[in-house]
Amino acid sequence: MPPPNKTYPDFASAVADIPDGATIMIGGFGAGTPHNLIKALYEQGAKDLTLILNAAGTGRDPGPGPAHVTPSTLIEARRVRKAIMAFTASTHPSRTTPVEELQEAGEMEAELVPQGTLAERIRAGGAGIPAFYTPTAVGTELAEGKEHRVFNGRTYLLYEALTADYAFVRAWHADEFGNLVFRRAERNFNPLMAMAARCTIVETEEILPIGALDPDHIHTPGIYVSRIVQIPPDGIFHITRGPAGGAAQQGR
């Protein structure tokens, strides 16, 4: 029998069942961010969320119009209980982020993880590895309270894997079974998160018939994908840095 068609008609239906308290991984590193799913989640209303992602966006500078909802928008709306990220503060020391403010105020929990360790914890979650050792962060404030262990004369820290209830993923192409291809730097965290979540929801520029993708070129096997939405012509395709450094939304 042929595989099920995992296509959903729109973003609202694809995120409709996400309950309060869910843990959600959100892909993207500048490029490859599932903006439409983030926006749909914002409109859906789920709260008490745990987010696992690289960075939440500035929140204060959400770009042109209501289309540009970032994870920081969810955080500012007090709908995030905990965030696990590689940036809880802005890289610009003069700015503060919603995460910093709510964390200082004791209104949310934020776990700061070096980016490579974050990626590896997500990879471990998808690979059935419960924990691993890494040399990163030894000798820093982040190592306080962590298990230290020496292998071959070098000191490492123990970290546990991360998994999630949902992953929001942005792909270039998908087929109807959910096989995914990413384009260039849009790949980043997306294939790792697709493997680490129980329900992976994908937004993609184009859904192709089964058989259209070369099996050797597929970055994420369809077995990891539950739902696929094709970005409509009026959806968000890219948000890039504008000439002045601000965000600029791009159509196809």
Binding site: A110, L112, R184, A185, N190, H219, R241
Partner: protein, 226 residues
């Protein structure tokens, strides 16, 4: 030389000078901010592979507005161009390159550098809970060497080159070279060795802006790109 006008180095000059240190065959990671400028100043007679945390292996110079695509961006999410030999990996594999020690150098921005090579670049105060680590902690812990590219002083004129870092460190004892707008310096344990100074500046003038003893290199000279 004493009568020469004092000229702090531009960001482009700083980037070009540190890029001239890259050796043939090196794999190089350029941190967010000033370090990414280096991609426009790679030595033409050497083969350099630029690596980015987001999985680009083999990118090149910054893209012009006409060349830019939303798909090809560096770690700072600015559009760049791919080299013909480029390949793409996912984030975990991008950090596999880093953690396995394959980066010949990581060029990072910093808030402070210690005379012992300590690097502080993820947190602007000890009291703050949050920070912006990104990939810097992995790079600092695992690259063969770290070069720092930063302004010599803070906005209010305080030194960033110190005997010991005041801020929480990113990694201990990893910095080999510091390029500032006042010159090129090597941490030497007790202070810094000045290899090159910005045009018109004397060692004494730079020492006054530095929080650790400066020692001139035997061949100390004015900053030269090559």
């Amino acid at each position: 030389m004493a009568t020469q006008e004092k000229t702090r180095l531009t960001r482009d000059l700083m980037a070009a000078r540190i890029a001239a240190e890259f050796q043939d065959g090196w794999i190089v990671n350029l941190g967010v901010g000033m370090p990414t400028l280096c991609s426009d100043f790679l030595p033409a007679d050497r083969f350099i592979v630029l690596h980015s945390e987001n999985g680009l292996i083999g990118y090149g110079r910054n893209a012009t507005v006409e060349e830019a695509t939303p798909y090809v961006v560096n770690a700072g999410t600015f559009p760049v161009l791919l080299q013909p030999f480029a390949s793409i990996v996912h984030h975990a594999d991008a950090f596999a390159v880093i953690r396995s020690g394959r980066l010949d150098v990581g060029v990072l921005g910093a808030y402070e550098v210690g005379a012992n090579g300590d690097l502080a670049n993820w947190k602007t105060s000890r009291e703050k809970k949050g920070g912006g680590i990104g990939g810097a902690m992995d790079i600092a812990a695992c690259a063969q060497r770290i070069y720092v590219l930063m302004e010599h002083t803070t906005r209010d004129g305080k030194p960033r080159l110190l005997e010991r870092c005041n801020l929480p460190i990113t990694a201990a004892g990893v910095v080999k070279l510091v390029m500032t707008d006042l010159g090129l310096f090597e941490p030497n344990g007790e202070g810094f060795t000045a290899r090159e100074l910005a045009p018109g500046f004397t060692l004494e003038e730079v020492q006054a802006l530095t929080g650790a003893p400066l020692r001139p290199a035997p061949d100390m000279r004015e900053v030269q790109i090559r």
